[in-house]
């Protein structure tokens, strides 16, 4: 039952759905429909990705030459801080959970909406207010502390807009907490009859695990940033060594959240990949329990490994040992997932549509990115590579090669459901390849220049590193173009795209049993689930074709 009748007659032939249920800015800005909020997040996340991406382009521009000759040192420091903050707090953390998660979790478990729709809208407003506050600070001169706010530089010596940016991130942090809270309660209490935990799509398992981290981690960084703000405003000495404070304590509190935060970024990406691999192999996932279990194992273990960021910062030797062994252990569940995805492709019916290109790209790059993480967990090696471009290359392989590839793959896969239109298959494959090539050319050289000893956040560097940096900048320009193409054809497809069928990929999942785009209340009557997740029809060995 649509809660309001549409003011004008819906377009000829178009069924009532959440897009044409009501028109006007008010109907969007005051909506409590999880699908509309997801679309609003999509717009917000894209804008902040563009800002962060612009900052990245400026960084790569500066690093073309060894001398710091494009920007002054302070400007460069503000640019890489903006790149870090915009990308981490306003694109990667909300990214997949807020856009794809908001849209799909209720649909996938057969619910009409999230448990608290109005809190979901509040999350969006907190995200936008937080984002605009941070943007206000950037526009008015930005800050030069790096996205990590290390003290005592951020509290005593920096003269940038630390407090305003801290307030912006603090507000956006609550958006992340409330989104996590919404997902947890929804998945616990609102699954359709028959949707047992073992029949839930792995996408929901990934969202569930990421939500656990959002709930348990974000408050700690909220209080840490609050203390940094209080210290700047009221001259307290909590992290200021001149008054007895301990900068290493700040690092403990900051990384207690910020390492699990990187799992908030990758778990939803893994969740998307589980969906893409099964849908385009048209085959049940291999090792459902192990992939779901790995997500939860990662969520818990990720809270015990933060010390590997502090191996050289005077942390005790024995604590370093404990953090190193735990950092190695947290890599195991990720390895299990990769093996299970690869096994899912075995004897599948693999079709090369764009979402699968992104999924295969993810598996390759995430494997390589994940393995380079072992270099940093290793005590002996981290001494040399800490705070060098080796680390920059590692986390970009995971975030860009992993999360953004999965985000784009998921966006293409569920675009028919979100917009009711199909994306252009040719251009999307071209952009997938451009992104893959541009990405590797950008970040692989950084591994080499990193091990050669080029430190992070350097405005000027010795000449011998220039060749690798020029390669990286060349790759960055290709990558930049690669990201613009989808932006163009997604917008184009909303107007001129081919109308999408309800289930264009023939995939399983409750979201494909609703029309494209789905009506506001998702399911006229609550569906009843009988089969397992991904129960594709599979043939016996002898009936194999060809």
């Amino acid at each position: 039952m649509t809660n309001e009748n549409a003011p004008h007659a819906p377009r000829v032939g178009a069924r009532a759905n959440y897009l044409n249920a009501s028109y006007g800015v008010r109907s969007w800005l005051l909506t409590s429909d999880h699908k509309r909020i997801a679309v609003m997040y999509l717009i917000g996340v894209t804008v902040f990705f563009a800002i962060g991406g612009l900052a990245a382009a400026l960084i790569r521009l500066e690093l073309l030459t060894p001398a710091g000759d494009v920007f002054q040192a302070e400007t460069y420091n503000k640019i890489f801080t903006t790149h870090g903050i915009m990308m981490v707090f306003f694109f990667m953390i909300p990214g997949i959970p807020a856009v794809l998660g908001n849209f799909l979790v209720p649909l996938m478990i057969g619910a009409k909406d999230l448990a608290f729709p109005r809190i979901n809208l509040l999350s969006w407003y907190l995200y936008i207010i937080g984002g605009l506050t941070a943007l206000w600070a950037v526009v008015h001169g930005g800050l030069d502390t790096g996205w990590t706010f290390y003290t005592p530089y951020s509290t005593v010596y920096s003269n940038g807009w630390v407090v305003v940016t801290a307030v912006g991130i603090f507000i956006a942090g609550f958006s992340s907490i409330l989104t996590g809270l919404n997902f947890l309660v929804t998945i616990h209490t609102m699954r359709a009859p028959g949707m047992h935990w073992t029949r839930m799509p792995l996408f929901c398992w990934g969202m569930y695990a990421a939500s656990i981290i959002q709930i348990l981690g974000t408050p700690v960084v909220a209080i840490t940033i609050l203390l940094v703000g209080a210290e700047r405003l009221f001259h307290l000495g909590i992290f200021d060594p001149a008054q007895g404070g301990d900068p290493v304590l700040f690092q403990h509190l900051f990384w207690f959240y910020s390492h699990p935060a990187v799992y908030i970024m990758i778990l939803p990406a893994m969740a998307v990949i589980s969906e893409l691999v099964t849908a385009f192999s048209r085959k049940p996932i291999f090792g459902y329990k192990f992939i779901a279990g790995s997500s939860i194992a990662i969520a818990v273990l990720s809270f015990l490994v933060w010390g590997h960021h502090m191996f050289v910062s005077g942390q005790s030797v024995y604590a370093g040992l404990v953090f190193s062994v735990l950092s190695f252990l947290v890599a195991i569940p990720s390895a299990i997932k990769v093996f299970n995805w690869t096994a899912t492709l075995y004897k599948g019916s693999v079709s090369y549509q764009t979402p699968l290109l992104y999924a295969l790209g993810f598996i390759g790059l995430f494997t390589f990115g994940g393995l380079t993480g072992l270099f940093l967990a290793c005590l002996g090696l981290d001494i040399h590579v800490h705070d060098t471009y080796f680390i920059v290359a590692h986390f970009h392989y995971i975030m860009v090669g992993g999360t953004i590839m999965a985000y784009l793959g998921g966006l293409h896969y569920w675009w028919p459901k979100i917009s009711g239109k199909m994306y252009p298959e040719y251009w999307s494959r071209v952009s997938a390849w451009v992104i893959f090539i541009g990405f590797n050319l950008t970040f692989f050289p950084q591994f080499i220049v990193g091990y050669l000893g080029m430190p992070r956040r350097y405005h000027a560097y010795p000449e011998e590193f220039q060749v690798l940096n020029v390669m990286s900048t060349a790759g960055a320009s290709i990558l930049g173009i690669g990201y613009l193409i989808p932006l163009v054809y997604f917008i184009w497809s909303m107007r001129y795209g081919q109308d999408a069928a309800d289930n264009p990929w023939g995939a399983t999942g409750l979201e494909w049993e609703t029309p494209s785009p789905p009506p506001t209340e998702n399911f006229p009557e609550t569906p009843v689930v009988t089969g397992i997740a991904y129960d594709y029809l599979t043939g016996k060995e002898e009936a194999a074709v060809g």
Binding site: G68, A73, N77, D144, T145, Y150, P152, Y153, V156, Y157, P241, A242, Q243, G244, P247, V248, R282, K283, F286, F290, V312, S313, G314, V317, S324, F328, L329, I332, A335, I336, V338, F339, T342, L345, Y346, G348, S349, V350, G364, T367, L371, L374, A377, C378, L379, G380, L381, I383, H384, D387, Y451, G453, P455, R457, H459, A460, P462, Y536, T538, G539
Partner: protein, 327 residues
């Protein structure tokens, strides 16, 4: 185009061996997954629109196999990494002392004979060098890629680390922890010289006032000698021969008096109260500059020449202690 920086310290070889092992493992598994994914994608490509996949049974054994194998590999990495790490945590006893003061955007390095250098350090080859580092403002990080040596210099405490150069030459010195506007200009050079050149360099320069003598002056300026004098019944514990000695505390524990202990007892004097003395020493937190603390430490170390040599006595067993920290 070389892929490894110069190997110019005893430590570099071990790190690079470990690095190559991890690269081998990374290459192997990346290729394994990459090839498998491509092969499966091609071999099982969907030939007709409604082609179905073949039934594949899950195998618990396979899951165990690809859990145990990665676990074993990462444990090998862990132990190898830890052994390499332990190699650098303890300065050998025959190391020469260099006192480093990091200040926003420059390195001040001082030899024990008083010679001062700015952003440059001349060291003899084959001689372990112990750096006692302090920062006057924010966190810096003393990073020499050629030595695979990096140590954060956190303000509010001494960071002690060491290296032993093995190849004469001129090597980069970087600041690796972001420290403000001119972070990328806080760089310099480490000159590793053959013993002959080193002697020539030593002879050439004019040693300034030694750290210890500057420390002695500061010891008097801050009226430390009123309590820590040598006369009978002095209110503070005697400092002669203190460095390297085990000190009994009021709460019954014993602590080895290293640089960190000396600094903490100046800055946060109530933390470790020596047995038999009233807790009347004021805390000098923020009253003495980092430079001053380095000088006082050097002075107190000079009061016990024997101890200075064997400062890092290997025999000391771990002394678990009531919670204490060096802020």
């Amino acid at each position: 185009m070389h892929f490894l920086p110069d190997q110019a310290s005893t430590f570099a070889g071990h790190v690079d061996a470990l690095y190559l092992f991890l690269i081998a493992v990374t290459a192997f598994f990346s290729l394994l997954i990459g090839v498998l994914v491509v092969v499966f994608a091609i071999k099982y490509r969907r030939r007709s629109a409604d082609e179905v996949a073949l039934e594949v049974h899950e195998s618990g054994l396979l899951e165990i196999v690809w859990t145990v194998i990665p676990f074993v590999i990462v444990m090998v990495m862990f132990f190898w990494g830890a052994s390499v790490f332990f190699r650098i945590t303890r300065p050998p006893s025959n190391a020469i002392d260099i006192y480093v003061t990091a200040k926003q955007w420059m390195w001040k390095l001082q030899h024990t004979d008083g010679r001062r250098e700015m952003n440059e350090l001349h060291v003899p080859v084959g001689q372990p060098v112990r750096l006692t580092m302090a920062s006057e403002d924010v966190i810096h990080s003393f990073y020499v890629p050629a030595f695979r040596f990096k140590r954060d210099v956190v303000p509010g405490r001494f960071s002690v680390a060491w290296f032993e150069a093995t190849k004469p030459g001129k090597y980069h010195l970087f600041c690796a922890e972001y420290c403000g506007t001119r972070h990328s200009n806080m760089i310099g050079w480490i000159y590793v010289m053959t013993p002959a050149d080193y002697e020539a360099w030593l002879a050439g320069g004019t040693p300034g006032e030694t750290l210890a003598s500057a420390g002695a002056k500061r010891f008097v300026e801050n009226a430390c000698n009123t309590c820590h004098g040598e006369q009978k019944g002095a209110r503070g514990p005697s400092l002669n021969g203190l460095f390297g000695r085990a000190v009994r505390l009021q709460n019954g524990q014993t602590v080895v008096a290293d640089e960190a202990y000396i600094r903490e007892s100046i800055v946060n004097s109530q933390a470790k109260l020596v047995e038999g003395y009233p807790p009347i020493m004021p805390t000098f937190q923020g009253l003495i500059s980092e430079e001053g603390l380095l000088q006082l430490t050097a002075y107190i170390k000079s009061l016990s020449p024997a101890a200075a040599a064997s400062a890092a006595a290997p025999a000391a067993t771990p002394a678990p202690e009531r919670m204490s920290t060096k802020p």
